[in-house]
Symmetry: C2
Subunit: 258 residues, 2 copies
């Protein structure tokens, strides 16, 4: 299988760097082809702006989604965006690896999502009608591929537990797992989380590698998170609210998992 | 009062640009002093990296939090960071204004948070002990100041309703409202959300301005979201889990609101 790892950490000589190296080696040892988009090393342009469109009329107001649509449809996207899109086409699996900063991914990775997920590629895909609201949330160009988050946190596991002060880790990652990965069609595996990074020593690192190895070895066998598909009857269209008879009385992120 | 608006949109001739102009004018008409950090216009550096520290030994591994601590304590931060920190010191209120992109703030604004919230300024503040886990979540250098999100979405209001497919807007904004604003001490007002931006016309824009005016005029009177403070007895320390007798049986983000 082909695996794309999108990786964001400013220092290669870091825990994240070590985990990244380990992941690449393990996947290759298992016979997979691996590409790494090391965003800091690539000096990835984080800002979505008018420079993302080639041969653009410079006096026209820039419209993020309509300009993206125009550029994608007409082969006028910035070259760095096209290269990343080709990597996604090539990949059977995507791993997003990052340190949790302010309860989300680093800005440089957010900018990768914003720019690479063009209109017509990451969103704005498929028919929009009274019964089908675009190919998204379980459908889309990434359908049939798998994805997983590998994330480190400074905080303790209990701080991210169901009643932990930061909020539960699954809820904090929902905007990424559901909104960034499931949205264009990925099957999303449960995240691999390394907590309390300041207390890492050789023993704990080995335990971490062992646990990560198991997850990587079972990557194509583990069950993905059972997010509900948008266009298969669970949601009223176009309101896109969960039908009353499903997850009765529930609201919030968890209602969108079967 | 002094108001800082941190604003992120790549095109001034946009709905967000118009809302930004309107907000500034309304606040000034009410007698407030206003500064705008227009991040795209400033070409704000979104990437947190070793260049954020002046006079840095270039061969030492870069550690995001420890390098930030060193730079903050020794007056060695990059000048653009210091300027934004001074604006926050000056401000009685902070407004974060942005279009929702992939269920969070644009990368350029995320990079503002990551770089301006230095160790010793946005986090790592105050005593760490068995009864007091740093000045955060209701305490910190921003205590006594107010904050509010002004956000636009392409999706419909129903898509962000309690059972909407994107997840409830309050939950999607929790990592920002609780994790970025309440964390360093801001009192956080409910967000002002403009949905379904593709269907904006002159009539609806006027309705939007009227509603926003009311919110701005009551900025110092409205009740903030009642997030629970960390160090006032609601949480076990150092586990930082909500005490069993509070919000009994509940988990998730909502449990952290009284």
């Amino acid at each position: 299988m082909n695996v794309l790892i999108v990786y964001a950490h400013p220092e290669r000589r870091s825990l994240n760097g070590a985990i990244n190296d380990f992941t690449v080696e393990r996947l290759r040892a298992n016979g997979h082809a691996v590409q790494v988009s090391d965003l800091y090393a690539m000096n990835w342009k984080a800002l979505l702006d008018a420079d993302d469109v080639r041969e653009r009329r410079s006096d026209a107001p820039f419209h993020p989604s309509l300009d993206s649509k125009h550029a994608f449809e007409n082969g006028l996207q910035s070259r760095d965006i096209e290269i990343e899109q080709d990597k996604l086409r090539w990949a059977d699996a995507l791993i997003l690896q990052f340190p949790m900063w302010w309860f989300s991914m680093p800005a440089i990775m957010k900018g990768w999502v914003e720019r690479v997920y063009a209109y017509g590629f990451g969103y704005g895909v498929g028919e929009h009608s009274d019964t089908h609201w675009g190919d998204r949330y379980g459908e889309g160009l990434m359908a049939g591929k798998r994805a997983m988050i590998v994330v480190t946190t400074g905080g303790w596991e209990s701080h991210y537990s169901p009643r932990g002060i930061n909020g539960p880790i699954d809820d904090l990652l929902f905007p990424i797992q559901h909104g960034v990965l499931f949205y264009p069609g990925f099957d999303v595996l449960p995240p691999f989380v390394v907590y309390h990074t300041s207390q890492m020593d050789a023993t704990r690192l080995q335990t971490t590698y062992d646990a990560l190895s198991k997850r990587l070895d079972r990557f194509w066998d583990d069950a993905p998170i059972a997010f509900r598909k948008q266009n298969h009857g669970d949601y009223a269209i176009p309101q896109l609210t969960l039908r009353a008879e499903l997850a009765e009385g529930e609201s919030g992120f968890a209602a969108h998992v079967e």
